[in-house]
């Protein structure tokens, strides 16, 4: 018996399948390739800070990491002042500033976002959830320059008139703005984590006589913990790399202090503000790429560590259940 039509159809089907598989595989690898290419590019431009004798006269590791005298005879200090007779490239104030803003943003965003996620997945009426969820997700779609402008014009003034801060634009203002960008990311991932907690867990908990708050806080929250941590890592990564909001709302003064209401200058804002201006190949140019490489490695390490920790927690939870 012969069935001539079928093999032909099947053949084209197989060919189509293969083609699709190839395209999908290609796009997956494209991400990896571009990631590697970008890192090589940044690394190549950052390297002269360590290797080139000419660049190192003006900018070297000890300049970058140790305090420097602003002018002859003055006490050494940590200063970022690249346009100067003695250019000063201390990365410590920038590092402290980046960390300060990021930590403030994350401290504000995580409780809010995780709380909102727990509420929408456990307590909210379905129609409330249908309103809240897309609203928070739309927040992610607001261009960061708009959020930054909103901070500069509205939040900064409101904070200053309520609390009487000396500086309108400070780490707190930028941190609040930044948290608006972090909340949707943390919320979305955490909400998914809570929704994927098996229904049997909740039923079991309620059958034991637990209230719905006890169920949410003692059963669903711990069970969704790996997802929540993943959300926090993603949120942290988003906050540390965000540029426009901090550029507009932080005041950009490279001050080294503990106060959350002092102005700060972050890595990303420094790169954004200064990279357009530098002459290619100058020490300043290579230092900016050095900052970029540092930021890249920092976020990469945080992501890696976060993932490792989450994996461990996941295995522990699965072992326990």
């Amino acid at each position: 018996m012969t069935v001539p039509a079928l093999p032909k159809l099947a053949q084209t089907g197989i060919l189509g399948d293969r083609l699709a598989a190839l395209v999908i595989k290609g796009s997956a690898f494209l991400t990896i390739v571009s990631l590697i290419l970008i890192f090589v590019f940044i690394g190549k431009e950052a390297l002269p800070v360590l290797t080139s004798a000419e660049i190192r006269q003006e900018a070297n590791l000890s300049n970058l990491l140790l305090p420097q005298a602003p002018r002859a005879g003055a006490a050494p200090e940590f200063t970022w002042q690249p346009i100067s007779e003695i250019p000063k490239y201390s990365i410590l104030p920038l590092f402290a500033g980046t960390l300060k803003v990021t930590v403030i943003a994350v401290l504000i965003a995580i409780p809010l976002a995780v709380g909102a996620a727990l509420y929408t997945s456990e307590f909210a009426h379905p129609w409330v959830r249908e309103i809240i969820k897309p609203c928070i997700e739309i927040l992610a779609g607001i261009p960061s320059v708009v959020v930054g402008f909103f901070c500069l014009m509205v939040i900064a003034g409101w904070l200053q008139s309520s609390f009487g801060f000396t500086y309108r634009l400070n780490a707190l203002t930028a941190g609040i703005g930044l948290s608006l960008a972090v909340i949707p990311i943390v919320y979305t991932v955490a909400e998914d984590a809570f929704s994927s907690v098996p229904q049997t867990f909740r039923e079991g908990s309620i059958a034991m006589g637990a209230s719905s708050w006890q169920t949410a806080s003692r059963v669903v929250l711990p069970a969704g913990m790996p997802g929540v941590l993943a959300a926090c890592v993603l949120g942290f990564g988003r906050a540390i790399g965000e540029t426009m909001i901090v550029l507009m709302a932080s005041g950009n003064a490279a001050v080294l202090s503990w106060s959350p209401v002092d102005s700060v200058r972050t890595f990303s804002a420094t790169i954004a503000a200064e990279l357009g201006e530098v002459v290619q190949g100058s020490p300043h140019y290579h230092v900016l790429f050095f900052l970029g490489a540092f930021l890249f490695i920092l976020t990469f390490a945080i992501n890696l560590m976060g993932r490792w920790w989450i994996g461990r927690l996941q295995r522990k939870l699965q072992g326990a259940s």
């Binding site: 014009m153 990564g237 357009g276």
Partner: protein, 285 residues
């Protein structure tokens, strides 16, 4: 992760594009004229370009900002026909152009600008000396009381260090000393104006063309001289202490369409647009 990748990719792309657009093709008729540089001059250059293109069909003039430093870097790297700069090019930069292109830089003053000092509308300060400005921006004076204001901490705003206004202020007012670390820097004069208009304890500086919604205070050269407000007469005569030339720079003597555009800018019509935008026409020698 993906989002950050995209940002990096974009950034890398921008840099590659900037590096890649060397080599200027000659011989093509009506190649677009590119004008790049000073953010202070963007509005002015844009108006020049619009009017010029309206009158000269077929010629296109593309204006981009980014700061004088950006424009000068582009001129050195061969990325623009005309560089807009709100500060004179440094000798080292001129040398780099000569080295790269084998031709000297041509400097053409096209307009005059005064750097205005802004305070909040409600500030009691009536005038300020250049020495006081220097003390404020180098961090030696931190309280308004010291210069005749209320007992209140001064919150000074500055431009980012890629702006020609920043360099002009650093050289002219600070005598090339460093800005204090506490000085907050903002991207663009508009952002400085916004910030000053919201804070009674603040002071800022920037182009006169931007000075709306706040108060620009007269400046005194020293304690014994009269306060001078920025105006056409005082800037042209050089009486206003914080005035400066705005420049076009080209590699070598410009020719063809670029020459025609520059001549038009320096002519009656171009200089009238200067005044409309809020700058001052250059004094013709």
């Amino acid at each position: 992760m993906k989002r950050r990748c995209a940002v990096w990719l974009f950034l890398a792309g921008v840099i590659l594009a900037a590096a890649g657009c060397g080599g200027s093709e000659t011989g093509l008729e009506h190649k677009p004229i590119t004008v790049k540089g000073s953010d202070t001059m963007v509005i002015l250059a844009q108006r020049w370009a619009e009017t010029y293109m309206k009158e000269h069909a077929g010629v296109s003039v593309q204006v981009t900002g980014g700061g004088s430093g950006t424009g000068i870097a582009a001129l050195i790297n061969g990325g623009t026909d005309i560089c807009n700069a709100s500060r004179p090019m440094k000798d080292s930069e001129k040398a780099m152009v000569a080295k790269r292109h084998g031709e000297e830089v041509k400097e053409i003053p096209v307009a005059l600008d005064g750097v205005a000092i802004y305070v909040h509308e409600a500030s009691p300060i009536q005038s300020i000396t250049q020495a006081q400005l220097k003390s404020i921006y180098t961090g030696r004076i931190a309280n308004w009381r010291d210069i005749g204001g209320k007992d209140q901490r001064i919150v000074p705003y500055s431009r980012e260090n890629n702006s020609g206004t920043y360099v002009f202020f650093k050289e002219h007012v600070l005598g090339n000393e460093d800005f204090a670390r506490e000085i907050q820097t903002l991207p663009g004069t508009a952002a400085v104006v916004n910030a000053v208009s919201k804070d009674p304890a603040s002071i800022g500086y920037g182009g006169i063309a931007y000075a709306t919604g706040i108060r620009a205070i007269p400046v005194r050269r020293d304690e014994n001289s009269e306060p001078v407000a920025a105006s056409l007469a005082t800037v042209q005569s050089g009486e206003y202490p914080l005035s400066r030339n705005l420049f076009f720079y080209t590699v070598g003597e410009p020719g063809g369409d670029v020459r025609a555009f520059i001549d038009w800018v320096l002519g009656m019509e171009g200089q009238m647009i200067c005044e409309e935008v809020g700058y001052y026409p250059v004094v013709r020698k």
